[in-house]
Symmetry: C2
Subunit: 166 residues, 2 copies
DNA sequence: TTATAATTTCAAAATATATTGAAAGTTTTG
DNA sequence: CAAAACTTTCAATATATTTTGAAATTATAA
């Protein structure tokens, strides 16, 4: 496999994976392209590399900035904006964990807490209560895990984790 | 909030959450309905409760069985098939972790290993190599975490985990 | 200030995904 | 075996999501 093929394969794989995660292909591929670029890239650059429209590039680059995965970079004497990706992959993971926690876990925790409070008098509502309790535990676990990733500023915590579950 | 409202809220919330995770609404709602039902339900039952078509119910019930989240149950003297959900929520979590690992993590691990092997001679390919190494580590971490959930047969392992990251 | 360059917005079009429902298939019963 | 009861399949339809591209907006330079 040549280097060019490898790049394409990575960009393509990243895009496919992302769609399974509710992230659109363009956004994932933009991220992939910027991740492996040693140089800042302009909007034109990424448009050309991925063969996507200006609007698409603009919107998804902005989303990537909202996620904290890429930054704008200005070049002196250049009017255009350039973009660079966050290259610390653990930081990327922390950002993603943080966003997903905020968007997906927190609302569910709130709903489950509300639903746990429903009186459990009939067989039906008792079953319901049991299920809500169980889900609370599992979601709490997911929440803890994401938090562990988010809070892990130093490597020792990560390596300790890896040790426990070797 | 009445019990009926709580049920609806749960079914709706579960369906919404699922779409963010690449699981379709019907499948998630079918799962929710069966989870909180103390009794086995027939296809007709779930069709009526969720107001979905026969084909939709049939296909998604089958998918849920493939995921190991629900089971068929036969009633004596009944010709129809009934369905019950796996009620052990930790088992549900393990099943989901197992499926997602198989479908999402494993293929990425393979691709990354392949791409890590690309010679790193130019600045571009060196950057590429660095990124692949970093991603390998992060994906490896996700893989370990999912494995921990999958392998956790006993509660002590889970509680130990929770302790580490309190 | 005006012209120019670059970026953002958003309605329309394209694409992808989910759902329906009727026909085909399967299993059970008499 | 044939009829009835039930389940599955899949082409057509509906819905949701993504992408485009041109117009509007904003920022910079002359």
């Amino acid at each position: 496999m040549t280097f060019e093929e490898a790049k394409d394969r990575f960009i393509h794989t990243w895009g496919t994976l992302a769609t399974q995660w509710g992230i659109n292909r363009s956004m994932a591929q933009l991220h992939a392209v910027l991740l492996i670029s040693p140089e800042p890239m302009s909007t034109e650059d990424v448009m050309e590399q991925l063969q996507i429209s200006r609007g698409n590039a603009s919107m998804n680059l902005r989303d990537l900035m909202d996620w904290g995965l890429i930054y704008k970079q200005l070049k002196v004497g250049e009017r255009r904006e350039f973009f660079i990706a966050e290259k610390d992959i653990w930081k990327v993971a922390r950002q993603v964990a943080k966003e997903r926690r905020r968007r997906e876990i927190t609302p569910v925790v709130d709903v489950l807490n509300e639903l746990k409070a429903i009186p459990a008098d009939t067989p039906e509502s008792q079953e319901f209560h049991r299920v809500m309790e169980g889900l609370s535990n599992v979601v709490g676990f997911a929440d803890n895990t994401l938090n562990a990733v988010i809070e892990a500023e130093e490597n020792w915590l990560m390596s300790q984790f890896l040790k426990v579950f070797r």
